[in-house]
Symmetry: C3
Subunit: 215 residues, 3 copies
C-alpha cells in the first residue's frame, strides 16, 4: 500500500468476502421485511410488503451476479472459485425463497396467518443472522474454525426446530381447517416458509464443507 506508484499497476482485486457479507446482509433485510409483514401486515398491506421484498431480492440478484462476474475475470481468489460460487448461489437461493414466501402471502391472500407462520419467520431471521456471522468468519476460519463450526451446528439446529413447528402445525391444520380453499392457501405458504429454512440450512452445509476442505 505504501508504494502508490507500484500499486497503480496492480489490478484492483474484488473483495469476495465483502461481497458475500453484502449478500448475507441483504438476506437479513429480506427476512426482516417478511417477518414484519407476517407480524404486523394487514391483508391490504400485503402487496406493498411483497414489493418491498422483491426490491430487496433484486439487490441480491445484482450482488450475486457481481460475484459470479468477478469470479470469471479474477485470477487469484481467496477460496476456490467453485466454493465462492456455491456460497453466493446458496445465499441467493435463500433470498429467492423469502421472495417466494412474500409472493405467496400476497397472491393467496389468506384470511389469517397464525402463530406458526410467525415462528417460522423468526427461524428464518435467526438463520440469516447465523449466515451473516458465518461469512464474517471466512477470512479467519482456516486458523480458527471453532466459531464457523458452531454456526453450522446452530443452522442445523434451527432448521430441525423449524421442521418440528411445521410438521406439528400442518398435522393440526389438516385435522381442524374445514374450509378447503383456506387450507390450500395456508399450506402453500407454510410449505414455502419451511423450504426457506431448508435453503438456509443448505448454506450451513456448504460452510461445513469449507471446514472439511480447508482446515
Amino acid at each position: 500500500m505504501k508504494n502508490s506508484f507500484f500499486n497503480s499497476f496492480v489490478p484492483k482485486q474484488p473483495n469476495f468476502f465483502c461481497l458475500l457479507k453484502q449478500l448475507a446482509d441483504i438476506l437479513s433485510e429480506a427476512a426482516d421485511v417478511l417477518t414484519e409483514s407476517v407480524e404486523q401486515g394487514k391483508p391490504e398491506e400485503r402487496e406493498t410488503y411483497y414489493r418491498r421484498v422483491k426490491e430487496v431480492e433484486r439487490k441480491g440478484d445484482m450482488v450475486t451476479h457481481q460475484v459470479l462476474d468477478e469470479l470469471e475475470t479474477t485470477f487469484i481468489t481467496p477460496l476456490d472459485r467453485e466454493d465462492i460460487n456455491a456460497l453466493a448461489s446458496g445465499i441467493d437461493d435463500v433470498i429467492d425463497c423469502v421472495n417466494s414466501c412474500a409472493k405467496r402471502i400476497n397472491i393467496y391472500n389468506p384470511r389469517v396467518l397464525g402463530d406458526s407462520a410467525r415462528e417460522l419467520c423468526h427461524f428464518i431471521q435467526q438463520e440469516a443472522a447465523c449466515i451473516c456471522k458465518a461469512v464474517e468468519e471466512l477470512n479467519v476460519f482456516r486458523k480458527n474454525p471453532a466459531r464457523l463450526r458452531g454456526l453450522c451446528v446452530e443452522l442445523h439446529d434451527l432448521e430441525n426446530q423449524a421442521d418440528d413447528v411445521y410438521e406439528f402445525f400442518i398435522r393440526r391444520l389438516f385435522e381442524e381447517e374445514k374450509d378447503s380453499i383456506e387450507l390450500i392457501k395456508i399450506k402453500e405458504i407454510m410449505q414455502e416458509l419451511e423450504r426457506t429454512t431448508d435453503a438456509a440450512e443448505h448454506v450451513g452445509k456448504i460452510l461445513k464443507n469449507l471446514i472439511v476442505k480447508y482446515v
Copy 2:
C-alpha cells in the same frame, strides 16, 4: 477441406452448435404442441396432445444424451465442456417442464383453461423462439455479442411479464373460484406453466454467463 487425403485422418468433430440448435428446435416444437392443446384442444383430445408432447420430449432426451456423450469423448470443444453441458441440460429442463404441463392438463383434466393459460403458453413460445435465435449466435457472439445480449434481455423481460400474468391470475382465482377441486387443478397447471417460463429464463442466465466469460 481441400486436402481430402489429410482430412481422412482427422476424426469427425461432432457439431455441438448444430446439436444445440436441434435441441432448441425441439423445444419450439414442444411449445407449439402445448399451445395448440390449450388453444384448440377439447378435453377429450388432451390425452392425444400429451402423447404428442411426450414424443417430442423423448426426441429432446435423445439429443441431450448425444450432446453429453459426445462431450465425454471429444477432445476439443468450441466452448468449455461445462458450458455446453449447462446449455444442453438447461434447454432439456425447459422441454421437461413443457411435458410436465401437458401431463398435468391431461391428468387433472380441468373443465376449462382460461385466457391466462393461453397467455402463458404464448410466453413459452416466445421464449423458445429467443432460445433458438440465441443458439444460432453461439459461433459469432465472441466477436459480436450484441445480438446474444439482446436475446438475454428479451428472455428476462418475457419471464417478468409472465410472472405478472400468473400472479394476477392466481390472486383472482383464489378470490373467485368456489369449487375447490377445480381450483386445485387450475392452480397446479398454472404453476407448472409459470415454472416453464422460469426454466426458459434460466437458459438466458446461462447464455449471459457465456458473454461474461468469453467476450
Copy 3:
C-alpha cells in the same frame, strides 16, 4: 499386502465402493420401512413409522458426508471425484425423498392409502434393489459393462411403469374423490412417491454416464 513393513507407510484408502454400497443398502432399508408402513401401518402407527424412516435417513446422511469428506482428503480415487460425488448425492436424494414420503403420510394423515400407493412403494423397493446391484458392479463395469447397462435399462423401465400407475391414479382421483381435503392429502403423498421413483431413475442416468465415460 505381503510387505507389511511397506504397507505401514501407505495411508489407508477409504473404500468408496464399499461406502456407496452401504448407502444403497440404507436406501433399501428406508424403502422397506416405507412400504411396510403403507401396507400394514394403521393410521395411529404412522408417526412411529416416520420416526423409523427418519432414523434410517440420518444414517444415510452420515454415510453421504463421510463419502464427501473422504473425497476432499483422498488423493487417488477409483472414479473421478465428481462421479463419486454425483452417485453419493444421487442416492442420498432418493433416501431424502423416501423420508419426505413418510413425513407426508404422517402429517397429512389420510383416511386410507389405496392400492396405487402400495404399487408405487413396490416400484421404489425394486429401484432400490437395482441401485444396490449397480453399485456392486462399480469395480468391474469397465471390463464388463453389460450387467450395469442392464440395470440402467431396468431403472428406466421401472420409472416408466410407476409413471403410468401414478397418472392413471391421479386422473381417477380427480374424477371420483369429492372430499377436497382428502383429495389434497392423497395427491400430495402420491406426488412425493412418484418424485421418489424419478429420483431413483436419476441415479440410473448417473450410472449410464459412467458407462459412456469409462468404457
